[in-house]
Every structure is written in C-alpha cells, then in structure tokens.
Amino acid sequence: MVHNSRSLTKLVGELKKLPGVGEKTALRLAFHLMKSPANVSALAESLLEVRARVRFCSTCFGITENDPCSICTGDRDSSAICVVEESQDLLAIERSGAFHGRYHVLQGALSPLNGVTPAQLRISELMRRIEAGGVREVVLATNFSVEGEATALYLTKLLKPLGIRVTRLAHGIPLGGDLEYIDAATVQRAMEGRSEL
C-alpha cells in the first residue's frame, strides 16, 4: 500500500488495529500526524504515560492511576455496589450523578454464544467483597443485551440467597422519546416494568 516507506506502512498497520479504523482512515490519520510533528510527540508521550500509569483498581476493577481508586477509598456509601460490565459504563453512571455508592466492574458479560463463562469475569472478586460484609444492596447495571441480561440473572442467583437486596436498572422509553418511534422490544419491556404513580 504505502510502497516507499516501511515505517509508514507499519504505522498504518498499527492504526488499522484500532476499533472503527479502516485502511482509508488509517492512511488519513498517518498523513495528518506526519504533517504535525508536535502532535506526534505529545501523542506518543501520552500513550506511554497511560500505559505506565493507568491500571485496574484491585477492589472494583475500574480504571485508575491510584490503587485502590478514589471511589473505593472515598467517603461514598459502602452499603451499595453498582455492578457494570465495563469502565465506560461506570463513567456513564458517574456522569449522571444519580448513584452515590461504590462500583464493581465485571470486565465483560456472560455470553452463551461466545462461550464467556463466569470464571472469565470478575465475579469471584465481587463475591469476596460481599462476603467481607457491609453490603446491603447490589444494583445490577449490566447492559440490556442478551449478554447483559444473562449476567444479571446469574448474579441474582448468586446474591439473592445471601439476603442482599438485588436491584436492576429500569429499562424503558428514553427521556424525550416519542412512543410512536420506539421499537416494540423496548415498549414491551417498559410495559412489564411499569410503576405505580
């Protein structure tokens, strides 16, 4: 592809490994970087810095620079744990400001079709946190995909016998959503989860 530069070919190859980046985009990015040497050093530096400093919190498995993370050590409600699939989901809930407890990041979801079993997730670590005591509620905030629901069902089976309150994020019509345009699956679920006024 980039016939006369081996290093450029290599860069394009690396960029193409990123999600959502194809051959054309990779080439465009590579040429853009070549034109701005200052950006290149800043980018290279921050990549190395992230790799050196960002790790997973050994308690909640969210991303952090200090282990344990500030959420795990801060004065947040330690009686409630919100379980999410990925660190990005934790950030989404934090952005909402609606939850004041702590988190647990599973680093994935159970998948019957992809053979992802409980042992591949941070489930035993979650159970150890709960066995340590003090947790009264677990909020299951896994996605509403088949995988996310399978994960929520599996955790419910583990947690319910421990006498812990297990809750699931509500699932329904998005704010500002026009019923007419909402897909049938969502309406079906919203109807099932309707609440008393």
């Binding site: 999600p19 019957p112 079709l113 909402i182």
Partner: protein, 235 residues
C-alpha cells in the same frame, strides 16, 4: 438472528437464518447508534421481519421489524443458554445461502417453546434429533448401523457415532448403552412434530443425551462455545 456482534464503530455483524434464503451474514449499519432502525433487534435469537439487500459475502440490512425478542427466554438463564445453543448448533450445521424451511420451522418452534413453557431438558433432545433428521444425519435406530440386522427393541444396544447409529449385540461391544425405552422415545420424537409430545424420564434422558451429544459432536467442525456455557450451568 442466530448471532450478532459489534462491528466497526457503530455497526453490528449479524448471522441470520431466513425462511426464504437460508443462512446469511450481513451488516446492520449504525445498529449500535440508530435507535429508530435497529435498536434492540440485533440480538441473538430475536425473530424479525427484514428488509435486506442480498449480496455475495456480507448482505446489507436496510431495516428490521421485530416480531419478538422472546421475552420469556430472556427472563431465565437456563433458557438463554439453551436458546444460544440451538442457534449456534443451527449456525454450524447450516451452509450459507441454502433455504431450509423445515429447519427454520423447527428452530422457531423450539424458541417459542422455550419462551412460553417451563423449561424441560427433553425439549433440547427433541430439537436435536429432529435437527439431525432434517439435515440427513438421522441416526439409525431400527436396524444395526453395521450389519443391517433389524433391531427388535427387546435388549440394550450400543451406539456408535462413527457407524451412524445403534449396533446389534454382535457388532457393538463398546460405546454408550441404550435401553429399549430410550430407543422408543427417540423414535416417537422423530415421528411427532410437536414439542412437548415426548418426555424423557431421567434414565432415558441421560441415555438419549449421551447418544445425541456424540452424534452431534461427530458432525461438528469445531466445538460449540455455547456448550461450554451449558456445562458451566450444570446442564
């Protein structure tokens, strides 16, 4: 929808089993973002009415109307696991682009059964043996798969996946043993077109399970991931 996975920034790569065109692979562009067109429908085992542009390789989904996501399946882990297994099994056995309305109806019936009835392990075995039959892999139950001698159904026989069926007492000395009751139940599962018509008792369920697991494994190119998941759940 036999399977779906994230693809590129916002797309889903889907494996479909269509009534008219058999198995297809396709791309639902923007399925992760576009709430209107695809939200919640590009999910394993959902039943859909599709608008699709057929192409060599990857077809293109234009739109999808949901018939059902099978909410009853999605409420129970064991049902999710079995529905996933049925979809993966179908996916692996089915060549692309060959329509197979009988298998389509069998899979839909099984998913409807899982969705609406309480879970029964017999249904899985009913699905499996009928799948094998439709695909032309029906195990020989009436005569010895080696010498062709008629099996009268009065004694225990051995099963051989390699031979493709039961073996008479002369031909078969090793392999899983199958009782006359189990053979009769498997025969009924093959002749009845309805889930729930045949219930295997524990011993027969175990024997039929071993027989079918081996028969299926003999035809698989690669191991099924969903089987791992089922085993994990103790199924």
């Amino acid at each position: 929808m036999l399977g779906a996975m994230d693809y590129r920034e916002a797309d889903r790569l889907v494996t479909l089993f269509t009534l008219e065109h058999g198995k297809l692979k396709g791309v639902a562009a923007g399925a992760k973002r576009s709430v209107r067109r695809f939200a919640g429908v590009c999910e394993p085992f959902a039943r859909l009415r599709l608008q699709i542009v057929l192409r060599e390789g990857l077809s293109r989904l234009q739109g999808a109307d949901l018939v059902t996501v099978f909410p009853g399946i999605r409420r129970e882990l064991v049902k999710i696991a079995h529905a996933g297994y049925a979809c993966e099994l179908t996916d692996q056995f089915l060549p692309e682009g060959v329509s197979n309305p009988r298998l389509f109806r069998l899979l839909v019936s099984y998913l409807e059964r899982l969705d609406g009835a309480s879970f029964s392990a017999s249904d899985r075995r009913f699905f499996e043996i009928n799948l094998l039959k439709i695909l032309g892999y029906r195990p020989a139950l009436g005569q010895c798969a080696s010498c062709g001698m008629e099996l009268t159904g009065e004694e225990h026989y051995r099963f051989s996946a390699a031979a493709g069926g039961l073996l008479c007492s002369c031909c078969g000395r090793v392999g899983p043993s199958v009782s006359p009751q189990t053979v009769a139940l498997l025969g009924r599962a093959l002749s009845s077109g309805r889930f729930g018509a045949v219930t295997f008792q524990p011993t027969s369920l175990r024997e039929a399970g071993t027989l079918l697991d081996e028969a299926i494994a003999g035809h698989l190119v690669r191991p099924l991931k969903s089987l791992l998941f089922l085993q994990e759940l103790g199924e």
